[in-house]
């Protein structure tokens, strides 16, 4: 798998209302990689993800997935949203099965895959529950299972834990890290939380707003064998402080 974002710019609106939202975004993502985009709100993170998902088209530049240009949404790029991530009228299992049945897979395959992926996210017992009967963290796990069930080449996560309480968010970060380790998925995570990005991603891009652009990239080399320990370790805290400082200076210079 090779995702290539080359010199992508995006503006919305026409004429005088035209607004440049992304400027010259370039990066690459390969199989097994976990990448994060960090930036304050309004810096264009979601727009980057929507471009990759094919929900928007770039104004300039190109996006290629395995050599083929991205032109429309497709199940090779799975997506998880922060809000309205599940279909409220479908049970957890039906939500996971949704993509498979849209693709017209046969019944036994759907049943087996649904059970498998619910199990992968640790929710085999919740199969028959409606989203409203699940906690926020469980809902996001079902959404991740649904995205994984159609075997996307890359998983796009747009602030998936942004609406969760701090404690649940921490356990979800650990969950996502374990999932990445065990399944070897490729992920692009959007977040405004530097800690989250540093905990999970091998590569972190910092984005600045107006227009949205990547101003700094770090390869994170930290021992991730124990995330709970990592959170409070000295090198982690130093790196976090350094990046937080950069983000602050970006916001400050633009106020």
């Amino acid at each position: 798998m090779h995702l290539q974002v080359s010199q992508v710019s995006k503006s919305f609106g026409e004429g005088r209302d035209r607004k440049l939202v992304l400027q010259d975004i370039s990066f690459e993502l390969v199989s097994g990689q976990f990448m994060a985009l960090v930036g304050s709100s309004g810096s264009g993170k979601s727009t980057v993800m929507r471009l990759i998902a094919g929900l928007e088209r770039p104004s300039e530049g190109t996006i290629h997935l395995d050599g083929e240009q991205v032109r429309r949404p497709g199940s090779d790029r799975g997506m998880v949203f922060q809000k309205y991530s599940l279909y409220p009228w479908l049970t957890a299992a039906q939500n996971v099965a949704f993509g498979l049945s849209l693709q017209g897979r046969d019944k036994t395959e759907i049943r087996e895959r649904t059970a498998y992926f619910l199990d992968v996210v640790g929710l085999a017992d919740a199969a028959r529950l409606l989203p409203q009967e699940l906690s926020g963290g469980m809902q996001q796990r079902v959404a991740i299972a649904r995205a994984l069930a159609t075997e996307p080449k890359v998983l796009l996560l747009d602030e998936p834990f942004g609406a969760l309480d701090l404690q649940i968010r921490e356990s979800m970060q650990e969950f996502l890290h374990d999932l990445w380790k065990t399944t070897g998925l490729t992920a692009l995570l959007i977040t405004h939380d530097i800690e989250e990005a540093l905990l999970l991603a091998g590569t972190v891009h910092i984005m600045a707003p107006r227009p949205g652009r990547i101003v700094h990239s770090v390869d994170v080399r930290l021992d991730r064998s124990d995330l709970r320990h990592l959170r409070v370790s000295q090198p982690f805290l130093e790196l976090r402080e350094e990046l937080a400082g950069r983000l602050r200076s970006l916001d400050g210079s633009l106020l």
Binding site: G54, G78, Q103
Partner: protein, 258 residues
Amino acid sequence: MVWSPPLRRSFSHPWVLGVLGILTVFVAWWLVTSSGMVDKLFLPGPGAVWLAGSDQFQQGILVADAVASVRRVFLGFMISAGLALPIGIAMGTNRPICHFLEPLMALIRYMPAPAFIPLLIIYFGLEELPKVMLIFIGTFFFNTLMIMDAVKFVPSELVETALTLGGRGLPILTRVVAPFIAPQVLDTYRINMASAWNLVIVAELVAANEGLGKRISLAQRFLRTDEIFVGLIVIGLIGLLIDLGFRFLMRRACSWAN
């Protein structure tokens, strides 16, 4: 007065107070009429109304009238609901269609449906068609615009999730938009059914051979206030029954929305 907790709890049940409200009016009605304060010709007592009702029932008039009115309502409303659904969805999902139709519909919506009766009689005579048409005209635009609004409030995330799962075209409509708006559509129908029911009575007051509205206007001619009351109560009861039916359907089919 100090109420014991169980008593208070049973009074807080919505049905108990609702029935109590109806009973209060009923008892007041009975007291006023049995005291002889008002002329029975103006306000018949519950007993007289009951007699008039059972009399009509035994003659078969009551059922025939109810069937005639209900049939008109259902026919007109079914056409209205059936057309409003696809058109409302089209307006909610397609901007040009919406821009084309919305001002037109918003305009017609403000024309009182009963004002169309003279035209409908000129065009379609005095048979069933003008009455069915009146119910159609009186509910179609409201149904359509309310369904359009429901469609516009479908969260884009739900549609986009389906797109990123490999969905496209019609399945997005049938498997994402339709289930999401189902509760609002049922509620729209329930609300507009009330005006359909109003309109059929208006239409029958103007011209009809049978129907609950027709019976009321006949009763007026012979100063049969007891029969007017029978008509009013039966109309209310059937309306309430339809309303409860929609609520029941909603609870069964869209339990996720409660």
